[in-house]
Amino acid sequence: MRVNETAPYELLGARNLQVDLGGAPILRHVSLSIGPGERVAIVGPNGAGKTTLMRALSGAVPATSGEVILCTEPIQRLSRETIARSIAVVSSDITLPFATRVEDLVALGRIPHGRGPAGPTAHDRERATAAIERVGATYLQHRDVRTLSAGERQLAAIALGLAQETPILALDEPTAHLDLRHRMEIADLLTSLAGDETIMKTKRTIVAIFHELDIVRDGFSRVILVSNGTIAADGTPAEVLTAERISGAWGIPLERAARL
């Protein structure tokens, strides 16, 4: 699928999406539309439904009603493999049961592009190495993933997502458990990754869940505020992250919200 870069089209969207888990409604009346090259931050209090929204947008949980659009197609019409070639979801805590080198972990990102029982091909290895290099983690490639620090592990996880070669990169709290410097580095990396051209000939779209509002203000052009299972605001950081909204969504006093 090739699309003219200047014509905006829908890469990721939701129409009146509702998701129930265990009978309880987690998301209601969610509608959004994300195009190529956008950098979108999802913010909101714990339990608001941010992760469920990301899981629904990547087809990991089915919509109870409404629909999710991925690369202009309703997601339920796409095979799991097609979805995995369109959106990579980066986990914030990779744990492995066995010693595994970073290069072998990142090569797992090639699974949706593979066929048959054989392991990663030379081309897969090459793409994995390129992904590791892109996140600046070449010095880690022979290390056991389980011996990495939290920051290094996050880089490996992002490289794993990049190796999937998808137009959309989704990240669930990529800065969780990181110190100030590593947080900034990850935020800068995400900004830079959004400028890359993907295999769909468009700029890469980044969708990421954050708790740190400073990162969102500095590095993201669009913020979606999720509160109580619904989208409370969607716009630029200046529009969305006002003291009133922060105070309302997180339930903190207005004068303290104004200082965030």
Partner: protein, 338 residues
């Protein structure tokens, strides 16, 4: 490439050891004569005119079925062990983790007590009962633990497997108490051994073993994704429920058939996958085929020792496997994780 080199080398080693093992025993037969006898008997090749009828009978009727059985059982156990370890993300999982061994033992023990005789029964009544017991146990664990659902179920699969195995072990103890003169036969099954493997019995078990093991060794792509957990596997395009069902079904079929043929041979399925990972890394696409070869090789060597000194092969694998496990754990404490 390293993976291919290690795999081919192990395969070559297996072939050499297998030919040597057929010739090795009370009556030693030279490797070339072994090849000649097999070539003549199986493929009708015009070789080795002066081979004795005795040697031919020893190779074809006694040693070859036993050696093929050791290869099949070793490959089945190690491949299933590797699959369960990846699937359950647990380095201590083995082929019996879903209660296969206890179910098979109970089935076999009950069969020893049934006073039925007949051609069909003589051919493998105990084996059939062990096979059914193993499948029934896994079916029970499968049902209670809800295999095929979400990530949080892994711990419950392990716990349910343990609970069902304990229950069946208690039942086995009762049957053994009531078994009287059959106690020794039941005990022999529990120790695991390849004594008295015949071609018909081998053929019945080897076919499901070969099919299930070969198919399982080709599921490495999905099992590789499972290393990262169910959610991440989903995001890599894997249908988690479907792939888990297929892998559990194939590993169970291979294990149950292996247990029916050889009794409870321990440690091969636990230890060999770890050896394979030390050689080629953790990717199941490399680990599964290498485990199949390594399991065959290990059980063949262990059985050759076992028949030389006259003890059940399960005793030998435990004698090798348990210290090896301790060594792995020691390495883990020294900084190298399993």
């Amino acid at each position: 490439m390293r993976v291919r080199r290690v795999t081919l080398l192990s395969l070559a080693a297996l072939v050499v050891v297998a030919i040597g093992a057929v010739g090795f025993g009370v009556a030693n037969i030279a490797p070339l004569d072994v090849l000649a006898i097999i070539g003549k008997s199986l493929f009708g090749l015009p070789v080795g005119g002066e081979l004795s009828a005795g040697s031919t009978a020893i190779v074809m009727e006694i040693r070859l079925p036993r050696i093929v059985a050791a290869i099949a059982v070793g490959a089945a156990l190690a491949t299933s062990g590797a699959a369960f370890q990846s699937l359950l993300r647990n380095p201590l999982a083995d082929p019996y983790v879903l209660g296969t061994s206890s179910g098979a033992a109970l089935g076999a023990a009950i069969a020893f007590l049934v006073p039925i005789t007949g051609i069909a029964w003589e051919l493998g009544g105990v084996q059939l009962a062990a096979f059914i017991g193993a499948l029934a146990s896994v079916a029970l664990v499968w049902r209670i633990a809800g295999i095929g659902s979400g990530e949080e179920r892994i711990a419950s699969v392990l716990l349910v497997g343990y609970a069902v195995a304990s229950l069946l072990a208690a039942a086995l103890s009762l049957v053994m108490l009531a078994s009287g003169a059959n106690l020794r036969a039941i005990f022999g099954f529990l120790l695991g051994g390849l004594d008295g493997v015949t071609w018909p019995r081998l053929a019945a078990a080897a076919l499901p073993i070969a099919i299930a093991t070969l198919l399982l060794a080709r599921r490495g792509r999905a099992l590789a994704a499972f290393l990262l957990g169910d959610e991440a596997a989903t995001h890599l395009g894997i249908d988690v429920r479907r792939e888990r069902r297929i892998a559990v079904a194939l590993a169970t079929l291979a294990t149950a058939s292996a247990v029916a043929l050889a009794g409870l041979v321990g440690f091969v399925g636990l230890v060999v996958p770890h050896l394979a990972r030390l050689a080629v890394g953790s990717d199941p696409r490399a680990v599964l085929p290498l485990s199949a070869i390594g399991g065959a090789l290990l059980l063949l060597l262990a059985d050759t020792v076992a028949r030389t000194i006259g003890v059940p092969v399960g005793v030998i694998t435990a004698l090798i496997g348990a210290p090896f496990l301790l060594w792995l754990l020691h390495r883990a404490r020294a900084g190298y994780a399993l």
